[in-house]
Structure formats: C-alpha cells, structure tokens
Amino acid sequence: METGHNIVRVSEVTRTFRMGTQVVQALKGVDLSIQAGEYLSIMGPSGSGKSTLFNMIGGLDKPSTGKVYIDEVDIAQLDAYELAWLRNRKIGYIFQTFNLIQVMTALENVTLPMIFAGLSNEEAVEKGLELLGLVGLRERHAHKPNELSGGQQQRVAIARSLANTPAIILADEPTGNLDLSTGEEIIALLKHLSSERGVTVISATHDHKMLAVSDRVVWIRDGRIDKVESRDQLNISVGVISSKEA
C-alpha cells in the first residue's frame, strides 16, 4: 500500500444547483484529501451533499468553485475525451442499483470497459473470466443480469469496476439494495480487494456495517464536512450512534 500519495484532493469545493428560481448550495466549501490505498466512507443523511461530493470525486460532476484533483490533475481542465479516459481507466464505479447492462451477459458487462480501453476481445474475455473468478462467479459468466441475484449482480459490478485495474473504486451505496448478509459479503469483498490490491475504495453510504472496515469516515452535514474520523476514533462513536438509535 502506498502512503503519503494523495489520489484525490478536494479543495474549497462548492456546488450550487438551480432548482427553478431557487439556488441551492449543496456543498459549501469542502476540503478533503484521500490517500492512495485508503478505504474511505462518506457518511451523511440524504440531502447533506454527500452524493454531490461523491459525484465530484468520481469526475461525474464539476464543482461550481474550488478544485477537484484526481491523481493531482484538476478535473475541470479535462476535456470530454480525457474525462472518458479517466472514467475508463482510473476509476471503477459501483452503484446502489448495480447498473449492469441488462442486454449483456455477466462476462460482456465485465469486458465492456476493457473493450473501450482497446483490449482485443480475447484478452478482454480472459481477464474478464479471471475477474469473475475473483468475485466467485466464473461459472455464471454467461448469465444475464436478470438471471442473477442482487448480491451476484453487485459482484459482477465489482468485477466490472476492476476491469482496467483502476486506482480508485467509487461505490455509491453499494449495499443499499441488498439484504444484511449479502451486504456484509459485499463489504468484505470490497475490503479484501482494497487491502489485497491496494485500490483506494471510496464509498458513500448509510450503512453502519461499512464503518467497521473503513480506514477513515467522513461525515457530511449540510454541505460541509462535519468531522473526519479515523478507525481508532471510530469504534467509540459507532457505539454512540447505535446506542442513540436503539
């Protein structure tokens, strides 16, 4: 695991949306550095600006003011082609609703980013099968998403996110549509990949199971970072939360 290298740096980012005549400020100045190899969770209630921040980090949205650097490159400076390249190679996305392409088989879903990256079909298939094996679904590579369970679909999505060996995996509520035990499996898998492969995992989540495996947790409230906790501080506050909820 590399240390000291900032894979993502968010600097004084604000983001305003215009909703009809109203101007809504979703982010009100956020500073955050994420180190390579880190497992980071972004927590916050809905409407807190969590998703907005998450989209910024993923290069899916650009800040109104401030800068977002991915691997020390200002994403606002990138043109459409370079952004596509970034999404293709540097970042792997995992979504709450899995977002597999329904008309394609598991294997085709996993190989698609590799095809975009210019790999030949044979290379892509070989690597795709390997990745499906990594998530324990090699046998089911010919199945379409609707023939797979939610947990299996999310595994395929994880395999797909790893297709071009990205530096960052962005997981947006990866366990949001899964039951408790399946969610735990997915979290364990993500954690395993993070520590095994040194991939930076950044997840936006409501899921308190996610906290236990996170190196750091960023709490967002009302468009600002409320607090950042590292793992050793975390156990205490998790206890507080669960007692609050109980």
């Binding site: 200002d74 370079e82 996305y93 609703t97 392409i101 095809i115 210019g118 797909r160 947006d172």
Partner: protein
C-alpha cells in the same frame, strides 16, 4: 492546451501512448446494437411498423405509376382507354391526326393529391420514429449513463443509436417497399389483367423499390438524430439519478 503536457504522466499508465485511447471498434458496436434490437425486439417492431406502412404506401403509389406507364407505353389505344376510364390524367396523344411520329408518351406521373398524401404519411411516420426513439432513449437512460461511467464517449452512444436505427430502417423499408410493390402489382392485375404485368418495365420497378427503401432508410436516420443526440449529450450523473 497547457494541461495536455502537464497530464502526460497522468495518462501514461502503461508507459505507451496507446494506453491513452478510448475506443469502441465498429464490429463491437454492431454487435451491441444487434443485441439491443434482438432483446427489445417487440419495441423495435413497433418503431418499425410505422415505417413499414409509410414506405409500403410510397411503394404502392410509385409502383402503381410504373404499371400505368407500362400500359401507356405499350401504345395500345385500348389500354389507353382503360387507363383513362380508370381515372388517369393522360397527356394528349401527339399532334392532330395522331401523327406524332410514333412519339412514346412520357409516362404517367403520380397525381398531385396522391403525392401530397404520400409526403404527409412519410412526415407522420418520421414524427412517429422520433417519438418512439425518444421513448427508447428515456428507457435506456441508465444503460447509457452506465456506459458513460465506464468510459464511453458521446460518439459511441451516437453510433449505437444510429446503427440501430439504420438497421431498423433498412429492414423496415425493405419490407415496406416489397409489400407496397406487391400490393400495387396485385391491384394492377385485378384492374387491367395480365397486361399490367406484361407491359411493366422491371427495371423501373426495381428502381421504384430501391427508391422507396432509400427514402425509408433516410427517414429512419433523420428520425433518430435528435433522440440520439439527446442520449449522447446526457451527462452520466443524470443517468445515475434515474430510479428504476
């Protein structure tokens, strides 16, 4: 651009220039669009049926004119009388005394009213295609957004939609043109007997079918341009917001 140089290390993962590309080979896009059509066959059919009907109408009218032209060119005054009786507006035969030095009549043009109806039906069909394709784009927002998150360029999305529409257009117009031509021939046979087919110029018929297919194909592409641009321009983050 200044950042182009600054980013060279950023893009240089494999140590080779090639690694910077984002591509979708044509064969692969063809494969994906064929798959999409096959999976959504029913929806594709509905999109195409309007086109089939409009092109069939066009083919019917044009082939009808071909049949009439064939009859007229046969030079048989009896057939000419039949045509006039059938309501065709024929150019007057040569000069006075019928001594037009064997001048072959120009042929039978489609009537102005008929032409307008055909044009209108083609217009309506195009609007129908735009409508159906916009629906298809909306239905596939997430798929498009996901592809963009995986690194697809606008042009990939555009190409997929154009390919799909092109294939649908080609197949639909071909079916429509054949249907229209066949119906017109049958109608000709019923009206004028075998003379309709005997005097028909097959070259003209082939040309008519080709023209109808061409028109249908072009309309299908024209109809998909706006929906495809909408799809291609969509930002991935918007696609992610769409709930199932």
């Amino acid at each position: 651009m200044a950042n182009g140089r600054a980013d060279s290390a950023f893009f240089d993962t494999g140590g080779t220039k090639i690694s910077r590309q984002v591509v979708l080979p044509f064969r692969k896009s063809l494969e994906i669009s064929i798959k999409s059509i096959r999976v959504r066959f029913f929806r594709s059919m509905i999109t195409v049926i309007g086109l089939i009907l409009a092109v069939a109408f066009l083919g019917f009218v044009l082939t009808g004119a071909d049949v009439a032209t064939g009859l007229l060119r046969s030079g048989d005054p009896e057939l000419r009388a039949v045509l006039v009786k059938a309501g065709y507006d024929l150019p007057p035969v040569g000069g006075p005394g019928g001594g037009a030095a064997g001048a072959v009549p120009e042929g039978v043009a489609t009537g102005a009213k008929e032409r307008w109806i055909v044009i209108l039906s083609l217009l309506v069909c195009t609007v129908g295609i735009v409508n159906a394709q916009l629906m298809a784009v909306t239905e596939r927002f997430r798929e498009i957004g996901t592809m963009k998150c995986l690194g697809a360029l606008d042009s990939f999305v555009l190409r997929l939609f154009l390919l799909e529409a092109g294939m649908q257009g080609l197949a639909g117009s071909f079916l429509g043109a054949l249907l229209g031509a066949a119906t017109a021939l049958l109608a000709g046979l019923a009206r004028f007997g075998t003379a309709a087919v005997v005097h028909l110029s097959w070259g003209a018929l082939a040309l008519t079918v080709a023209a109808a297919v061409g028109v249908g194909f072009v309309l299908s592409l024209v109809g998909v341009i706006y929906p495809a641009v909408v799809a291609a321009r969509m930002r991935p983050v918007e696609a992610m917001r769409v709930q199932e």
